[in-house]
């Protein structure tokens, strides 16, 4: 009887230990990491060789006015991107070409191309909260920032990022990372003096292949009330090989006939 009782106790202990180990297994993946390691995970999750997607740019302006734009995009790494408006009619066919940190806009109705530079870089795309500067800059955080953990919970970790070059658009950033998905689901972008300028919130994610990808993000300017912009990705397809180089040259940007 005693032996039986001990066996049962042993089983219980083993069960408890197994549960504890099982509970600790995923945690082994998310705990005990440095800020730099978290940053690397975020960058890796958002990195890809090439992708094609279509999305909606939804802009809400003070006073309740809203605008919606359809876009089709091709992106290759950090360096190249080509986006084209599919609607509305007034903007249809306007294209953006990003090559490294330069950004061109082609206006088909006028058959003119401009290089976005100077003060224009800080303007919002279509008057929204997402600036041309945001569009042109590289998404890789670890190249531009040093990081330290400012707070941590079981499910998330918040990093304070300080730019190595304080002249960039956001010298300070605070990002909150979902430990399970490695998605930075909240990002507070601050200017000189650590003054918050914009907040980016990921509203929706989707599993695509072996990663969780943000498909609906909201950007809010903290300088204007009742104004926000959403990027809503409807379809995205990742490629393991780069696109043809010709896709991202000016000739293709200025091609006629869609």
């Amino acid at each position: 009887m005693i032996l039986l009782h001990d066996k049962q106790r042993l089983k219980t202990i083993i069960a408890l230990l197994l549960t504890a180990v099982l509970m600790l297994l995923p945690s082994a993946n998310v705990y005990c990491q440095t800020a730099e390691e978290w940053l690397e995970r975020v960058d890796e999750n958002s990195a890809f060789v090439a992708a094609r997607y279509n999305c909606t740019l939804l802009i809400h302006l003070p006073g309740g006015r809203e605008r919606s734009f359809g876009l089709e995009g091709h992106v290759q790494g950090e360096e190249y991107a080509l986006l084209e408006y599919t609607h509305p009619q007034r903007e249809r066919g306007i294209r953006y070409l990003k090559r490294d940190d330069q950004l061109w806009i082609y206006f088909p109705r006028q058959d003119r191309t401009i290089l976005v530079q100077g003060h224009m870089m800080r303007e919002g795309v279509q008057g929204g909260d997402f600036s041309y500067e945001d569009m042109a800059e590289s998404n890789t955080l670890r190249d531009k920032y040093t990081a330290e953990i400012s707070s941590e919970t079981d499910t998330s970790v918040t990093l304070l990022l300080i730019a190595t070059d304080l002249s960039i658009s956001y010298p300070y950033r605070e990002i909150t990372i979902d430990k399970r998905t490695n998605v930075a689901f909240r990002m507070v972008n601050s200017g000189v003096g650590n003054q918050p300028i914009k907040v980016v919130n990921v509203l929706e994610t989707r599993r695509i292949g072996n990663r969780i990808f943000p498909v609906r993000s909201e950007i809010r300017s903290l300088l204007v009330e009742d104004k926000w912009t959403q990027w809503i990705v409807h379809d995205i397809e990742f490629f393991q090989r780069p696109f043809d180089d010709e896709l991202f040259n000016k000739e293709n940007l200025e091609r006629t006939g869609g």
Partner: protein
């Protein structure tokens, strides 16, 4: 009658002194006549330019802009524009109605950018308002519903553009996005107002509405009133009632006097006019006092004799004032004739300050540099009154001096 006869004889007895007095009054009256006509012409030109190129007699604007006294942002313009224009046109006393949009852009040139102001209007509606066709120096006005542009002559020079060239521009649209526009230059205009010729261009309203995402919108609707400058307040009330009865309570009618500071800004000019009149009066009066006083002193014994013969103090004063009146009357007539003649002549030819201002490239004047004096009957009446007032006012003191002496003392005067 005897008094006038006696006074006339006294005036002619000292011809040199009479001539000096007359000249002093003639100069003052002529200067006053001309100056009045010149300032009237200047102010009218200033108002006319403001009304023609900007304000209209009455301007319809979004109420929010009027309340906040600030330029209307593109996203807060007048909506349902066609309906608003129709209501304004059918309002009694309104002869012309034209919607406009003013929008800033940075125009690119080889060495940088030029800040410029676009004026979008319906060209066919502006013939009696802006009337720019009479200032075109090359080409023509843009036509309605086209992508054509007319540039100020100095802006065209700076951009290196001429008729037939194309101009691409990026404006900020009503949502804050990019509003691209490609226009063909069809005209060059020289309004004679530096700040406009250097910075403004003119495009059809429909093209700007598309460029700025402002479908069926404008920032202002300019109205011309049949009764002219002074009919603006009555027209304002009528327009306000018409718009309110159609439900457009968010659109305000603003007469030109209440737009900006143009009307108020002439108040200092009126003050300067008053000051100049005062100084001219003092100058002329000093000469008149001097000559009449000399005359009185020289005639002390004669005045004493007149008093001894029974002339009362009042009669002597009346005699001296009559003398001054006669001189003043003749001088005033001559002064008014000279002043009016010069003013009328220059009203035809104008006084051209263009050359004088050519060296002041960065000093913008909001009016044309050719001033046309504007003499009228009131100018002549005011000047005549001014001349007689100087003559009589200045003679009062010598007259009082003349009667202060007792007849016996006056007779002893050497």
């Amino acid at each position: 009658m005897n008094m006038i006869h006696l006074a006339a004889r006294n005036v002619l007895r000292q011809p040199k002194r009479t001539v000096y007095t007359t000249i002093a009054i003639v100069v003052a009256v002529a200067a006053m006549t001309f100056m009045d006509a010149y300032i009237r012409g200047f102010i009218e030109s200033y108002f006319e330019t403001f009304i023609r190129l900007d304000a209209g007699h009455v301007k319809l604007m979004p109420s929010t802009s009027v309340e906040r006294s600030r330029p209307t942002p593109l996203d807060q313009g007048i909506q349902h524009l066609n309906e608003v224009v129709r209501i304004a046109e059918s309002t009694e006393g309104i002869t012309d109605v034209s919607p406009r949009i003013r929008f800033p852009v940075l125009l690119e040139k080889e060495t940088g950018v030029i800040p410029a102001m676009g004026i979008a209007f319906i060209p066919s509606r502006e013939e009696n308002l802006m009337n720019l066709q009479s200032f075109i120096i090359e080409g023509r006005m843009p036509t309605d519903s086209t992508d054509e542009i007319m540039l100020g002559n100095r802006l065209a020079e700076e951009l290196g553009l001429g008729v037939g060239d194309e101009l691409f521009m990026l404006a900020s649209d009503s949502y804050g996005g990019l509003g691209p526009g490609l226009y063909q230059v069809v005209g060059i205009v020289n309004t004679g107002i530096g700040m406009l010729d250097r910075r403004q261009f003119y495009v059809p309203l429909s093209a700007a509405q598309f460029q700025l995402a402002m479908d069926d919108m404008a920032l202002e609707v300019v109205c011309k009133v049949a009764s002219g400058l002074n009919g603006s307040f009555e027209a304002k009330e009528r327009l306000r009632n018409s718009l309110a009865s159609a439900g457009f309570t968010n659109v305000s009618a603003v007469p030109w006097q209440e737009q900006g500071f143009v009307y108020q800004s002439v108040q200092p000019v009126n003050f300067v006019r008053g000051l100049l009149m005062f100084l001219l009066g003092i100058l002329a009066a000093t000469t008149v006092i001097n000559t009449i006083l000399m005359s009185v002193i020289e005639r002390t014994r004669e005045i004493g004799a007149l008093r001894a013969m029974g002339f009362t103090r009042g009669t002597v004063i009346k005699l001296i004032l009559t003398e001054a009146f006669l001189i003043g009357l003749v001088a005033t007539i001559i002064g008014v004739v000279i002043g009016m003649s010069v003013a009328l002549f220059l009203a035809q030819t104008g006084i051209d300050y263009t050359k004088m201002a050519s060296g002041m490239d960065n000093f913008d004047l909001p009016f044309r540099l050719v001033i046309y004096p504007d003499p009228n009957v009131m100018t002549a009446v005011k000047s005549a009154f001014f001349g007689l007032l100087i003559a009589l006012g200045a003679a009062w003191y010598p007259a009082r001096v003349a009667v202060r002496l007792q007849p016996v003392e006056a007779l002893r005067h050497n």
